[in-house]
């Protein structure tokens, strides 16, 4: 993974977020407080804004810096969670030698672990983790199986989609929707949706290149 790729991905993510304003906003209006889109938009913009600063850094340092920037930009529940993800992913990347799918999958898993620790949530609680955990597991599996890049990307897109859709039938036990009880059923979790969108757009970017 190169820093230039990270920057590419960041811009791609920003475009995806912007293109999904209505979706993200209405999901968080339905079972949250309506700010998830604007939070994600603010975060994405902040990263694109520090492009030149990031460009000179190593990928590990860039990911860490992205985490720190998100931490001081997004706020809300998604801020510290996404920040923890990128900071931990950066740290994990640093501690692994070489360049391989497995290395990235391991770093991704470290990022997801950081979210679990920070938010004290797990699978099935109707949060972004319902996308991130299956994606991380699938990523590790495919990488261990030495699958090629295209196969991995397609697999993760599919897993993310399934995880995102699965949140629809869940009762939330973490985050703002937890207050809703049964009433949350039928709504997709906004954080799960934005994670699915981000993963998909990065995978598509790789598939196209």
């Amino acid at each position: 993974m190169k820093t230039t790729f990270i920057m590419h991905a960041a811009k791609e993510i920003q475009q995806t977020i912007l293109a999904n304003e209505n979706t993200l906003e209405s999901l968080d209006r339905a079972i949250g407080d309506g700010d998830h889109y604007i939070n994600m938009k603010r975060g994405a913009q902040a990263i694109v804004d520090i492009e030149t600063e990031l460009a000179v850094l190593s990928p590990e340092a860039a990911l860490n810096k992205i985490g720190l920037k998100l931490l001081s930009t997004i706020g809300g529940a998604s801020g510290p969670l996404l920040a923890s993800f990128f900071m931990s992913m950066g740290k994990a990347l640093q501690s692994h030698e070489g360049e391989s799918h497995l290395k990235i999958a391991n770093a991704f898993a470290a990022g997801v672990q950081a979210i679990i620790q920070r938010g004290k949530a797990n699978l099935g609680e109707k949060t972004m983790l319902d996308v991130l955990i299956p994606v991380s597991n699938q990523f590790l599996l495919l990488a261990q199986q030495n699958s090629d890049t295209a196969l991995i990307c397609k697999g993760l897109i599919e897993t993310a989609e399934l995880g995102m859709l699965a949140t629809q039938d869940l009762i939330a036990t973490k985050g703002r929707a937890a207050g809703l009880g049964e009433r949350a059923i039928g709504h997709i979790d906004p954080g799960a949706k934005s994670c699915q969108l981000m993963i998909t757009s990065v995978c598509n970017l790789i598939l196209k290149s």
Binding site: E25, R29, A30, I31, G32, D33, G34, D35, Y37, I38, N39, R42, L71, S72, T73, I74, G75, G76, A77, S78, G79, P80, L81, A83, R118, G119, K120, I171, A172, T173, K174, G175, R176, A178, G179, L180, G181, R183
Partner: protein, 334 residues
């Protein structure tokens, strides 16, 4: 959506600037990161810092001043502030006795304050407020939401800190007061988050949202609109049931503080009518309303609706509630 704003991105800074100019005798504003810090405080005291998403004004900046908060970190509208704000506020306010954060119990607020607390060089502790009894089944949730009762916690802890009490004592009082508070809210209309530019939820002219949160989060259930007596009876019953769950025994001479809080668009006339109903009902249950507060103290932007908060008093809490306070939104005794 019609609001008095210029550009959506500037609302917060312009509003904070107005606040700190209007109350320049009490506070000063710092930007990047944004925090508001108290002027004129003792050199040695536990500093009390709160914060949270904006849109709940006067919470929290309106409670900065003698006898209450030392600093507040305002997030974007309904979005918790970020750790850098809390760290900078703590640095600016620190008075050699450690920092107590008062945090409303929401995932976002908890995690951001938690990260700040982990990074902070000073001794610190956190009180989480969780007075909202709207959500009955507690297995659904990591913890209840902090709502208007937060004002009472901030007032009492702020009063104690002013006496020179140490961090542990302040934290203990905050936890105790929080434990003795129960709140529940009702919305008649939704609020409109400026950046979203449309109401958070749709609600018809014959419905109310019972147990609504202060961000317009849906509550217990959608109910049919009824007369005030019926609505407030349900609120009072929910609070009494919660007191039972909390094992707060209600004897003959229980003294309590009754706070009727407007969410932003409810006329004071209606809030006093609600007070009238609630006070009578509580009295019927042997609760003596010894202290009262009626007004917009923890709002949800332009939501029409109100919440009922009851805080069971004891001598210590009463003393700290009554002690002098001088902030933009709460002032007495000086």
């Amino acid at each position: 959506m019609k609001k008095f704003i210029n550009h959506i991105d500037d609302i917060l800074v312009e509003s904070l600037s107005g606040f700190s100019t209007a109350h320049a005798d009490l506070v000063s504003l710092h930007l990047d990161p944004a925090y508001i810090v108290r002027k004129n405080k003792a050199a040695n005291k536990v500093v009390i810092i709160s914060g949270g998403g904006s849109g709940h004004e006067p919470l929290h900046a309106g409670y900065i001043g003698y006898g209450m908060l030392d600093a507040a970190c305002p997030g974007h509208v309904f979005t918790s502030p970020t750790p850098d704000q809390m760290l900078a506020a703590a640095e600016a306010a620190h008075a050699n006795q450690g920092v107590l954060f008062i945090v409303k119990n929401y995932a976002g607020d908890v995690m951001n304050f938690e990260m700040a607390a982990e990074m902070l060089a000073f001794e610190n502790a956190t009180v989480y407020t969780s007075d909202d009894c709207a959500v009955v089944n507690s297995t659904y949730t990591t913890g209840r939401r902090g709502v208007a009762g937060t004002v009472i916690v901030e007032k009492c802890v702020g009063s104690l800190a002013e006496t020179g009490a140490n961090l542990n004592a302040c934290k203990a009082l905050g936890d105790k007061v929080n434990q003795r508070i129960s709140s529940i809210g009702v919305a008649l209309t939704s609020c409109t988050v400026p950046a979203a530019s449309r109401p958070t939820f749709d609600i018809s002219d014959t419905e109310i949202e019972m147990g609504v949160g202060i961000h317009g989060e849906p509550g217990r259930r959608r109910e049919v609109m009824r007369e005030a007596d019926a609505i407030i009876t349900d609120c009072v019953d929910a609070i009494l049931a919660d007191f039972k769950v909390k094992n707060l025994t209600l004897g003959e001479n229980n003294e309590a503080l009754l706070l009727i809080n407007g969410f932003g668009a409810t006329p004071l006339m209606e809030l006093y009518l609600i007070y009238n109903v609630a006070a009578k009902l509580f009295k019927q249950h042997g609760i003596n309303i010894a202290r009262s507060l009626v007004g917009n103290y923890t709002t949800a932007l332009d939501m029409a609706g109100a919440s009922v908060t009851l805080c069971l008093l004891d001598d210590e809490i009463k003393q700290h509630w009554d002690s002098p306070v001088h902030t933009a939104a709460l002032r007495w005794g000086c």
